[in-house]
Symmetry: C4
Subunit: 224 residues, 4 copies
């Protein structure tokens, strides 16, 4: 199996899913009082922005994660397909949540739908990692062993957090949206992607294709 | 004709078709009782998942199949275009089937439409293979001759099965959907893609770009 | 300007436009008599198939044409952007024509819209060619001089034919659709793409990346 | 971080956003008097063409700009993601503006929405440039120092102009659309992309991957 073509296919799916999100922003019902109509739809815009950030950050982490794989086998392809399924599905709950919030009807249900979709996504990430990292099945030699257990822990904690977020969805839809944004920002700091760099300092192969260029000392803190 | 650009174009079409499927999931008609509205639409979600799996698995098999081609000529390009036509069309019957099932109206017709679309797709696959493999027209030298007849048999059986599935569509729409999922899972085992590996053991060129990395003895059975 | 990235961007636009066409197929208005509803919409399916073939064949010719360019400059980029504009626009007249034909209302207007869109597309192709080939501005050295005038003639004739097709649209919408399909099939034979092969026999560089592999004597006639 | 994959991801988003624009062209409300219905929708077509030109020109400038970067770091990735957000959002104000203009309702609001979306886009461009160019953080060695201040000035002026355009939107929606088209044409002349060529004449590395092939003396003036 050709790793770079599977990455390119995944990249395509990410790029399309992130761009299709714009279709989920609720259209104005009338143009007579357009300013008011648009203003009422701000939750729809907020849901769009949160989902956009989620998919964009996931793309980067997908890119980092696959950089640690030496090869791809058929089960990993299907686990990746499952992950892509949860990502291409995201425009649906995004649209429903935005619509529910601006109609002020069904907000709890819509928030639970969104939270469940994100939890399934987190489980797919964990399954992908557990399969690939178990006994270093598909890991590149340059991925430091001491980071493996830590990454497993973090993927597991992530899955637990996203599952607990379903509870928040039952309480308040806006709180759920804010929590999802916060979780995305946490992943934007890329806890796993940073590991190998440390490993590199300890002598891993410098030609690993996806690691970042060495940072200059004056490099500012990572911000989103 | 540049094989890798035709593959890249096909990859793009697959990636877009698989992502557009989300637009076929029926939107709630109202938000007053959103939970009930969404629950009623589960067949729409089921049709989405089945079509997603079908396109994802087809992508992988397309990728494997083209790996066995040494070159691409103009007729093959048009046969591939025909195949892509049947794949980009899939969101239409998927949407119609999901909608028919949740309305409980026109389910038989919708199932037949879906089954016919998949049968035409299977015929396009067979035509592509028959054209490319006839007298080894476009096959790579590394593709073992003894696998050729077997692959032809399997593509033919596949086309027959998908044609017979139209009969199932007349009986029951849910049975058709389940059958399509089962057929997709069968293809997920990739009967053709596995052949060359055996050929390799007999000495085929190891630099064939799309064959899988050799599996370790402890590699688990292929699952989806 | 990086030629391969402009080609990749164009490929992406072609792949998306061809896949978006499925959204133009008219949805059934009701599911009570779904078979009848779908059958009434066959012109919508026919328009989809014709536009799909047109975009697919154009992709191949775009690919061949750019293979004859040595480099790309800024004016060519904008002419290519104009060409892409006419291609991404195609789903609109396709949807309108399919809808008009199945409603049996506004068919003449819809056919004229489709014909005009295709004529503008043909003019964009001609402008692209004339700019690139004038004094061999951007042509690769391997493109034989004697083919240049012929290609110019063919692009010009093409533009004239597509312009005359607007007249057919005024007469009958089905005739226009059939004519567009016939014109697409004519271009499927790729009059320009074939030239360089002859040139190659006369000693052009064999490593030109986009020319076809030499055909075997038993190669069947080009069919679509 | 792998620069070429981030470029490919961005290219994909640009290609999809530019192609999705066709979905913003308002569909005819009826087919009884289709010619009149379509003619009334010309502002929708005009908005489509302007947004198409904007995204196409931005793609080229994105391509040029990233050619001046030696590497990409995480903050730049997120600034680029912000830029892509403003680009994928563009179909929404495009559709609203086209619809408002043909309904002759809410045109001022729609024009302001469009102008604000473009202003945010211009700020995202400026932020990207300022971050990357500050103390030459990510700039390639071949980017001439004397051009850096000029480029910063031009990005700043651009952001100011796009912000002032919001004022025009309050006055007249058609004037805003014309102004946006004019600003796009100005950027089509690529003031930044041209710099390095001059730098090259002064001895920069010729293998810089994205610079244009040297122009022949007879090269016509840049036109769009």
């Amino acid at each position: 199996m050709n790793k770079s073509r599977i990455e390119a296919f995944s990249d395509g799916v990410f790029a399309i899913a992130i761009t299709l999100l714009v279709l989920t922003i609720a259209q104005p019902a009338g143009y007579g009082n357009l300013g008011h109509e648009l203003a009422k739809r701000w939750p729809s815009l907020a849901a769009f922005v949160v989902s956009f950030a989620i998919i964009g950050i996931m793309w980067l982490n997908h890119h980092s994660l696959f950089g640690h794989f030496q090869r791809i086998d058929r089960p990993l392809f299907y686990l990746n397909l499952l992950l892509l399924l949860t990502i291409t599905f995201l425009p649906y709950p995004t649209g429903v949540l935005g619509e529910a919030l601006h109609r002020r009807q069904g907000t709890q249900t819509a928030a639970v739908l969104y939270a469940v979709a994100m939890a399934v996504n987190a489980w797919a990430w964990s399954a992908l990692w557990l399969y690939a990292s178990h006994r270093r099945r598909l890991l590149a030699a340059s991925f430091p062993e001491e980071e493996r257990a830590l990454a497993t822990l973090m993927f597991t904690i992530g899955a637990v957090f996203y599952t607990l977020a379903i509870g928040v969805a039952f309480l308040n839809a806006y709180a759920l949206l804010a929590l999802q944004a916060a979780l995305a920002l946490y992943y934007a700091l890329d806890p796993v992607g940073r590991r190998p760099r440390r490993g590199k300092r300890r002598g891993a192969t410098p030609e690993l294709p996806v690691t970042e260029a060495p940072k200059s000392p004056g490099d500012p803190a990572v911000t989103s």
